[in-house]
Amino acid sequence: MKNQLIPAVRLTVVLLVLCSVVYPAVVWAVAQLAPGRGEGVQITRNGRVVGFANVGQKFDRPEYFNSRPSAADYHADGSSGSNKGPSNPEYLATVKARLDTFLLKNPGVTAAKVPAELITASGSGLDPHLSPQGALVQVARVAAARHLPASSVQALVQQHVETSVFGPDHVNVLQLNLALDELASHK
């Protein structure tokens, strides 16, 4: 073992250069050509960065499409799921409370129309998406709060549905809400 120690240390140093300097440097260099140049894809409005395309943010006001409940409260310097087990009574009470609150804020909607993502927390706490139903079920409330015709808000949602070949279709909440602000300003 003793005569293997020196080569082991030397080889470790050499491999540190290869795996921890050369390899990430190459990835970084090529990533400069990628959208966002490796910094993450930022979204600006009126010259101000208002978010990252892939990072969900908190929307809980009635005039915006609300994002999913989050165990991290959308603080993107951390990330976490609730880690609540499916049979946990305290957790199920929380889910029930979320459903009741949603029904209260969205009169006319029945429980069977509320998709589960609106009452469950995501894995990262930063989920940027909703299912199309998750957005559509909020159309009446948003349209009323914005004094817009429900049909044009609904059309806006339809435009923002990203279809996926194998995955579930989804809507980016940040982009949808930015488009909504845009629509409301041209009213």
Binding site: L5, A76, P86, L92, A116, G167
Partner: protein
């Protein structure tokens, strides 16, 4: 057909189709035959010269283990040094602190043994320096270590009698230069172009559309995430691992990451057949592994796609499945497939929170880690399977009244003792660990209240999962467990060390002993191991050892939870 189901079918099919040629390629490079990547030979020679290593010297199995364990020890001290001092080292724009000694011990061990149990969150618990120079570095070299150990065993099973089993450094370096680095590079670039960050900047402060102030964590993630999957390490850059929308931004990146982690474990199975020029044997192994894998996958996909009955009871719409802890861009089917591939293979990355999966899914994930050889981790999964093959050969030899032989070598008392010790070590570590933790908790529930995020059966499952994950060198968790405490850091650290090195030392020793024995050519009296019959034998040996040892603990945790949840 449901497109989400179709998605996972296509993903698995394409992984198998690519693993076969990769297996052939691995056999070629490890055998030292001519290959199209020979242009890398000068680089390998340069690495050897700089490292002061002779990669041509033939080694015995003891010398192999000496080299392997020595360099692992060096990495351990390097990792401890970096993690304990990271707060004062460079590349720390967010001013994250150094780790406490017990947390550093746990983290160093966990990355050293390819487990990647993480008792910290990447955003606040690690610096860019430690992510790149400690954690990502270990993700490369420990994967290469596992592959090298596996090739030593391949070598020992060749025809003939020898105690020279090739050179550890040769296998180790080729794994890095010709497999792990180039494929990681491709994957990292796919991720970067899909939106995964690759920079060294601090958190980005911004004011959201609604007016909240948030800081968005970033960093050199793309490079690390690639090897995290490819090397079946599983240790994520961000706390939420591949559920994080920057670590896994799209359905495409999810597919690529999931593909990467299954690729090499599958390819190693095919490499085995090509290396020994007995392709039928690897199809037997592949068959046993795949049937078992599908047995675990099917119920998980079913339960995740059908949602939580307690939420259905509230009347909400669950047509997309159980969504607690899942991401909308990925969906229930891809999350279930990911959960099972990551537990049968000791990768342990997550794209949804396993703690929130349905009880039967949790049980399937536990079983994947308890058996730990249905594909298994890079290299080591095959070694675990090899141990069960040795046991199956012995048992079936006794059943038909023949001397147990495997590939022309007699399996005798010494090899059997080693194999049985290794096979029983795994349940011992898991069950003894869980028993001790449960004993502590029950003795003083107020003092240890912070441990469990969920009451009742599920709380027990959280503790069982943590030790199972440690012993399987998996690294995923029921993350509700408050695990950054002295007890969990040290106890899982000890379990991880034992569960990594003994299952490498054992099979290498068995193989080394077999290689020295007289080679008996195949005859009509030989028990054939490349047949379906023998495959069924191995299948039952594995399932009986796993099921019998673990069934009582599974009954206390996930099964009890399942029946209460679905009884309403």
């Amino acid at each position: 057909m449901n497109k989400e189901l179709l998605g996972i079918g296509v993903l698995f099919g394409s992984t198998v189709l690519l693993a076969i040629p990769l297996g052939r390629y691995l056999a070629t490079i490890y055998r030292g035959d001519k290959s199209w990547t020979d242009f890398l030979a000068p680089l390998e020679r340069l690495l050897c010269r700089l490292g002061g290593i002779d990669a041509t010297r033939q080694m015995t199995w003891q010398q192999h283990l000496g080299a392997l364990l020595t360099i692992n020890l060096v990495w351990f001290f390097w990792a401890m040094f970096v993690l304990c001092t990271q707060g004062s080292l460079p590349l720390n724009p967010d001013h994250n602190p150094s780790m406490s000694p017990d947390q550093a011990f746990n983290t160093a061990i966990s990355f050293l043994v390819n487990c990647n149990l993480q008792h910290y969150s990447g955003e606040s618990g690690a610096t860019y320096f430690s992510q790149m120079f400690c954690l990502m570095f270990l993700q490369f070299v420990t994967a290469a270590t596992g592959m090298a150990a596996c090739v030593i065993v391949f070598n020992a099973l060749k025809e003939g009698t020898t105690d020279k089993l090739g050179n550890f450094y040769d296998y180790f370096l080729k794994s890095l230069t010709r497999v792990l680095l180039p494929i990681s590079l491709v994957i990292a670039l796919v991720l970067a172009f899909q939106g995964t960050p690759m920079n060294l900047a601090a958190k980005a402060p911004l004011v959201t559309v609604q007016g909240d102030s948030v800081n968005v964590s970033r960093g050199p993630a793309a490079a690390m995430v690639a090897i995290k999957e490819l090397g079946t390490n599983g240790g994520g850059f961000f706390g939420a691992n591949s559920a994080h929308p920057l670590e896994n931004p799209t359905y495409l990146t999810n597919a690529v990451e999931n593909f990467a982690l299954v690729l090499i474990p599958l390819a190693m199975v095919f490499a085995f057949g090509y290396y020994l020029r007995r392709p039928k044997l690897s199809f037997m192994v592949f068959g046993v592994m795949t049937v078992s894998f599908l047995l675990l996958l099917a119920p998980t996909v079913y339960y995740e796609m059908h949602g939580n009955p307690a939420i259905a009871h509230l009347g909400a719409d669950q047509h997309l499945g159980a969504l607690e802890g899942k991401e909308m861009r990925l969906g229930a089917a891809a999350s279930a497939y990911w959960g099972i591939t990551n537990t049968v293979i000791s990768c342990g990355s997550v794209n949804s929170m396993h703690d929130s999966h349905m009880p039967i899914s949790g049980m399937a994930e536990l079983l994947g880690m308890m058996t730990n050889c249905f594909y298994g981790g890079v290299g080591v999964g095959f070694l675990n399977f090899f141990v069960f093959v040795v046991i199956a050969v012995f048992i079936s030899g006794l059943m038909v009244g023949r001397t147990p032989e495997f590939l022309g070598k007699k399996i005798e008392a010494r090899e059997m003792k080693i194999a049985v010790i290794i096979a029983l070590l795994h349940p011992l570590l898991i069950l003894a660990g869980t028993a001790m933790a449960a004993h502590l908790y029950v003795g003083n529930p107020t003092e240890y209240a912070g441990w469990l995020a969920n009451p009742g059966y599920h709380g027990f499952s959280e503790m069982l999962y943590e030790y199972t994950s440690s012993a399987a060198n998996n690294g995923s968790g029921f993350e509700g467990l408050g695990d950054n405490t002295l007890w969990w850091n040290i106890s899982t650290g000890v379990v991880m060390v034992l569960a990594r090195y003994l299952p490498i030392i054992g099979p290498v020793a068995i193989a080394g002993l077999l290689a020295r024995k007289k080679f008996i050519p195949e005859s009509a009296g030989t028990l054939r191991t490349d047949t379906g019959t023998f495959g069924i034998m191995v299948f039952f040996v594995i399932w009986i050892i796993a099921a019998l040892a673990f069934f009582p603990s599974l009954a206390l945790g996930p099964l009890a939870e399942h029946f209460t949840l679905y009884a309403r």
